[in-house]
């Protein structure tokens, strides 16, 4: 779990740096500060369980087990990327590990993954499906429509709200009539759970429970993870960030990775500084390899733009 969280953080740091260096194009939304959510949730899933992501999708992709090389190559716009260079950051995806895609449309994924939940139910294979989405997305129609359907049909769904208190520049306070997104679960007659989203154990535990409920055929759960993004909404230079400095600093003190490290160190002798340092170096080496892989990969041929419009 720690390794995965650190992998996400180092991947994001590299993606940001390479974006600013002009090697990654378009836009990058970093997941730094929220790693415990993706890793805590995905740690409670099987490989064939499915998830869907948001515009801030690298973390979910890594947590579900995607290959760093192909992820980075996609950001680099290379033909070896998961989407053959057609998607970029906002469309990170590995359907092979049940990661049904990042998405440029806020709330766009919520109903799609609910359809994956329906498929799981119809197949009767006890798979579950997980929707990751932000506080901003919880104000959009697909959230409400999907929760109602999933609750009515007892679909094996877990809805994970990453409440990082902001939707781009707008604070959740200004757009939510009720402070807690989890409170909305009552309107659909399903459990609504609030967890400390920077506490990997709390996230994991809540997900394990929700997965049990879903596999047992008792229907969906809404889990609200209170968390925070450390960086601006996107990595675009010069972009405004109106969040109070003190608020950002306070949340950085609740670093989900440091909290897990402290916990592991607290259990005497289980985890030393050296081991942590070594793990970080291995993580960095893996990121470095993904960059080397990307740089060694070719750009797609221009004519490839005409491929994949339709399936055969």
């Amino acid at each position: 779990m720690l390794r995965l969280m650190q992998t996400i953080r180092r991947f994001e740091e590299r993606a940001s740096a390479d974006y600013l260096a002009g090697k990654i194009y378009g836009v990058v939304h970093c997941y730094i500060g929220e790693e415990a959510v993706a890793v805590g949730v995905c740690g409670a899933l099987n490989r064939d369980d499915q998830i869907i992501s948001t515009h801030r999708g690298h973390g979910h992709c890594i947590a579900k087990g995607a290959d760093l090389n192909r992820m980075m190559a996609e950001l680099y716009g290379r033909e070896t990327g998961y989407c053959k260079g057609k998607g970029g950051s906002m469309h990170s995806a590995d359907f092979g590990v049940g990661m049904l895609g990042a998405n440029g449309i806020v709330a766009g994924g919520i109903s799609i993954v609910t359809g994956a939940g329906l498929a799981a139910q119809m197949e009767g294979k006890k798979r579950v499906a997980v929707s990751f989405f932000g506080d901003g997305a919880s104000n959009a129609g697909p959230f409400h429509e999907s929760l109602n359907i999933a609750a009515s049909w007892k679909l094996p769904m877990i809805y994970v709200c990453e409440n990082n208190l902001y939707a781009a520049q707008t604070s959740a306070q200004a757009t939510h009539a009720m402070k807690d997104v989890a409170g909305r679960a009552a309107g659909y007659g399903i459990p609504g759970v609030i967890v400390d989203g920077n506490d990997i154990f709390a996230v994991h535990e809540a997900t394990v429970k929700a997965v049990e409920r879903a596999r047992a055929g008792d229907g969906p759960t809404l889990i609200e993870c209170k968390t925070y993004r450390w960086r601006a909404h996107t990595e675009r230079p010069g972009q405004p960030d109106y969040r109070p400095k003190e608020e950002i600093e306070a949340w950085k003190k609740s670093d989900p990775i440091q909290r897990l490290v402290n916990h592991l160190k607290g259990q005497q002798g289980q985890f030393s500084d050296d081991e942590w340092k070594k793990m970080d170096e291995e993580v960095l080496a893996a990121i470095e390899r993904s960059v080397a892989f990307s740089e060694a990969s070719a750009f797609p041929k221009p004519q490839a733009a005409l491929e994949d419009i339709f399936a055969d």
Binding site: Y25, G26, V27, G77, R78, C83, G85, K86, G87, G88, M90, H91, N103, G104, I105, V106, A107, G136, A137, N139, A140, G141, A167, A168, Q169, T170, A174, T175, H176, P240, F299, P300, K301, P302, Q303, A304, A305, L306, I309
Partner: protein, 319 residues
Amino acid sequence: MAQKTYAQGGLEAVAEEMRKDKTIFYMSTDAIPSLLEEFGDERVRATPIAESAMTGMAIGAAGSGFRPIVDWRQVTFSFVAMDQIVNQASKIHYMFGGQVKFPILFRAGVGGGTRLAAQHSQSPYSMFMNLSGLKIILPSTARDAKGLLKSAIRDNNPVISFESNRLMGFKDEVPDDDDFTIPIGKADVKRAGTDVTIVALAWLVHEALAAADILAKDGISAEVVDPRTLVPMDHETIRRSVQKTGHCVIADEAGPTCGASAEIAALVTEDRATFSALKAPVKRVCALAVPIPYSPVLEDHVFPNRERIAAGVREVLKA
């Protein structure tokens, strides 16, 4: 007169009109800072991410005496509000026999070149042109943006302003005059010429002007016509130009299929006088008919540019 960016031109139009008319208010996810500062959060509203409700509410507020502006930001997000646009806004005045007016301005960024992949690089104005009941503007300069947006805000109908993402930082002279407007439905000849008419839209107006420079070196005189408004389209100016030059190339950042370019080709060829003046078939230079890909190599292959426009011109002149 001062040099302003395309984005500033649009913003200035909104601010000037809001100062004059207290019934105008602005809705978008994330408020625009300068507007918020000047007009306060009653009139400049940061909405939840709920474009469908926001669009519907604009219709209701418009029918109740206000003049709302809804900024979808990117046309991408307008698709979330498609029922309110297609089934409601575009038909409501007609269906109810014109009982009340629905003055609404919708703003939406369009176009690619930003490496943002398929969802965030669209130019789907022809989908909206197809509706009957929505006026549509598509400015190509800061001056046009300001003048057209002011007219759009004063118009008593729903108007969509499609604004080119590529042009946001583009600068030109913008009149300071508070009463400067550009009428909706009037095309603009951006460069006069005699051998070929290039009808170009938004960003491609600038590429067409660059193509005209390239062609001039070979003694080819191109006229560049910018429709500026897609609904209602200025048939007369376009036809008059083609009647003069006898050749027509249409350049659009959108794909060709049922596009604005197809509409323009039709209005040129359906008219007997214009058709008779044509010395060669009409040529369209558009994006390839694919979703817009992310990787620069792919994206640049998909979009038209000055070289492709110049090649299109040479092709019709050879015929």
